[in-house]
């Protein structure tokens, strides 16, 4: 009998699972109690020195194992304090945690239908339902990817495959160069496909260009206005200039990547206007709505939903339910306007695995450039089931109301200077102390541990604290934060 298969797993899960669940519940309650720090460590070096994570030659007993789980929790960021405002995610919905446990219990790979029939159906259903929320028609499709950067990268790869087809699939960028040379008689400059995006786009767009073999030079950054939105006039001017000159040093425009909800300001590019430009110049429009796409759950008639106007014109969209919609890490979707653009099944490259007729498209991994896949859609499915479209919409609306209220209050604090902001305001507020450096204030907050807030440089050359409003955070937490910042206390 192998060590991993000794006791029946049902008995083991019942015993250890109950204890582990109790420890987890206690840690969450500790976070909720108000006593816990948001971040567990004042100094990296001290933290590293205090933790023992060595791996043993012989296995440990159950009480040591449970003790270690407890130590891991109590030395982690505690999002249940509601004071971890450092990132674009926070404490998740409880049902999503249960989804993580169920995925572990099933341990299925959602790569072929036969290995995960209901998880495949759930992924299809979630993709179809999100497609409907963003205004896509019945031809649309989508799949989960392990994070927004992965979705953005696949968006770029899908655009290349769609534009250049089998030539690109077989010959890669080398074949594009060759075709260009045959057409234009030279390759000196300009032959490479370019991605146009704003200076406020997420850095994963540039990394996607590296990943796809285009390189960072293939990314053309378009300036933003004072509210962080891409300057569409400049985009159009650049597209015209690049297309008019086949030897333009910045290449041939292929993809425009707009952002719905930028990382620091929460700005929404004018997707409707950008889509016009893309139609005119025959460009692929990808929208990185990792953060802001959740606004699609607002009622269609809600004025706040207008930030997404035109989103249905995108060829591909990234949306991350693990950010604003209470799903645990990771859960990202790449949506496409037409299901035929997802990587077509190619049975020749997985004959041992893919047996279904190509037209059934049963096997999710045929839609990707990967193979095995975790069933992340289950977590979103459970959250959606529990709260409904309406509950998720109300969740976002509540966040927007709190952001407005926080903005009003911050304006009245004389020691603080508000920075550039999205218009309309989304869920981030950039602010800096007038009489202290941002880094000094950040270091004080970190050392104190009550609040975790990140800082970022902005286009005006200044650094700002970025306050993130998480919809599920109770308002009294922001009152506490206001008190901290308003009194300019040193910790």
């Amino acid at each position: 009998m192998t060590p991993l298969g000794g006791e029946p797993a049902s008995a083991e899960l019942e015993r250890l699972g109950t204890q582990c669940l109790a420890t987890a519940t206690e840690w969450i309650a500790y976070g909720e109690s108000g006593e816990a720090r948001a971040v567990p460590w004042p100094s990296v070096d001290a933290f590293r020195a205090s933790m023992d994570v060595r791996l043993p030659e012989q296995g440990v007993d159950e009480s040591s194992l449970l003790e270690k789980m407890r130590a891991i929790l109590y030395n982690s960021v505690n999002p249940w304090t509601d004071r971890f405002l450092e990132k674009l995610y926070s404490a998740p919905a409880v049902v999503s945690i249960l989804g993580d446990m169920l995925l572990g219990v099933m341990n299925a790979s959602v790569h072929v239908f036969s290995a995960s029939p209901i998880l495949t159906m759930i992924e299809e259903q979630c993709a179809a339902a999100i497609c409907e929320r963003v205004g896509y028609g019945p031809q649309a499709d989508g799949i989960t990817m392990p994070g927004g950067a992965a979705s953005n990268t696949l968006g770029v790869q899908v655009a290349l495959l769609q534009k250049f087809g089998g030539v690109y699939r077989r010959g890669g960028i080398y074949a594009l160069m060759k075709a260009y040379r045959e057409h234009h008689g030279r390759v000196e400059r300009g032959a490479h496909p370019a991605i146009l995006t704003s200076t406020n786009a997420h850095f994963s767009i540039a990394r996607a260009a590296v990943a796809a073999g285009l390189g960072t030079d293939a990314v053309v950054h378009i300036r933003t206005d004072e509210h962080g939105r891409m300057n569409v006039r400049e985009l159009e001017r650049m597209c015209a200039e690049m297309q008019a000159d086949p030897a333009h040093p910045q290449g041939v425009p292929l993809i425009v990547c707009a952002t719905s909800g930028t990382t620091v300001l929460g700005a929404f590019d004018d997707v409707a206007a950008i889509a016009e430009v893309c139609r005119k110049y025959d460009l692929w429009l990808h929208v990185d709505a990792s953060w802001g796409g959740a606004a699609a759950f607002l009622p269609h008639e809600a004025p706040e939903r207008s930030v997404l106007a035109g989103l249905e014109n995108a060829h591909s969209i990234t949306i991350n339910p693990h950010k604003l919609l209470g799903v645990t890490h990771q859960c990202s979707f790449l949506l496409v306007h037409d299901k035929s653009v997802l990587i077509p099944p190619s049975h020749s490259d997985g004959g041992y695995l893919f047996h279904a007729p190509a037209e059934d498209a049963l096997d999710m991994a045929t839609k990707t450039l990967g193979c095995g896949r975790r069933g992340d859609a289950l977590k979103f499915y459970l959250v959606w089931l529990r709260y409904g479209t309406q509950g998720l919409g109300e969740h976002i609306a509540q966040g927007l109301r709190m952001a407005q209220a926080l903005w009003q209050r911050l304006q009245r604090i004389p020691s603080l200077e508000l920075g550039p902001h999205a218009d309309p305001l989304f869920l981030q507020i950039c602010v800096r102390p007038r009489e202290q450096s941002v880094r000094a204030l950040h270091a004080q907050l970190r050392a104190h541990g009550q609040f975790a807030v990140d800082y970022a440089p902005l286009d005006d050359g200044q650094e700002y604290l970025r306050l993130v409003v998480h919809p599920r955070t109770p308002w009294h937490v922001y009152e506490q934060l206001l008190a901290h910042l308003g009194e300019g206390r040193s910790y």
Copy 2:
């Protein structure tokens, strides 16, 4: 109060978590009972018609939610039957399921140290300990990736970045073409970097070539011997030929991808001999040990470990603890021989996020082409802690003993023909009925539902059932399988 933040999460998790855990435990016990089918559905259409996974406008109540969770489990592949032998994974270790739950409770992204200090340390520690197992020195490093295909793809991208540096990072494959033209005066043929791998390599290598913009033509397939191993003499001949001719139609050799444990046969390429070829021709050696890398947990003196001889000479290695080591999906590592080759921090492309000095390399996402990351290493850490290096080694050894025993028994069944096999035998056995088509037998097995076994085409042009030995499967399951197959019963 937003819908997602109503009741305190600790109370909600205690109540719902307890019920969900009970349902999961019951489903596992059902699998263990011998009554359950391994796969829940005889026909795709009937299954699809019977399942309701629609998403509601209004949220559902808790009992409906729990009922749905139950329905999902009871309509899923049940690995706890120990009769799901269809894929290269099976029922996981229970502590890994707890790891999934804890990751959900923490909901941290392991992209920067400040958001996940102990999870970062655990990932570093697991990577270092696996590096030690494969024979790497202290300069080695590793990171988790969402699956083996993702690790293989990053391996290819790292090789390109390492070989061509900033020129490639900035200019992509276009810049390589340009440099080649400047050197050789032409780009007609041969300028593209090539990946040499065996015909039995996983299809994710070809997909990695597409993902990286090289295209499938950049993959040169080297024939295998009758036991599924890459023909090293042919590899060397091809490298010599390609390097001698700068206009070779198959390109310039850059990467050799060896496989330790192929998908169908479980064959191990002779990595030591391949490493010699790579040294001679200055090529990057990537080893896809997604499946077979687990043999590194055998004691160093165990003769069975010799299949990995020379692995320490690889520049990069993929290993998937979610396959043979009892970790739940997903948990894959990309290891590199020298930590400096992981994507170097580039603060310019994430100034809002990465604040630590570059030399500290604190932030795991700086080592990837992505951003947010799930803390998958925690699950492996818990499994390793519970069973120790020794327990994991004994787990693999037990699997190998059972595979030998199964092989011996299958040989004695006159109605079956054994197919090509790895030498030494690993954990897969290919077998076909003499008087029936493989697909007919496969369809009968599927309809009966007792056993799930996949089939695959082999180099001899025949299809075979691929029996997978999972180390934690009790031997009596294989006795049952032998009885089924031996009696040639029709279901």
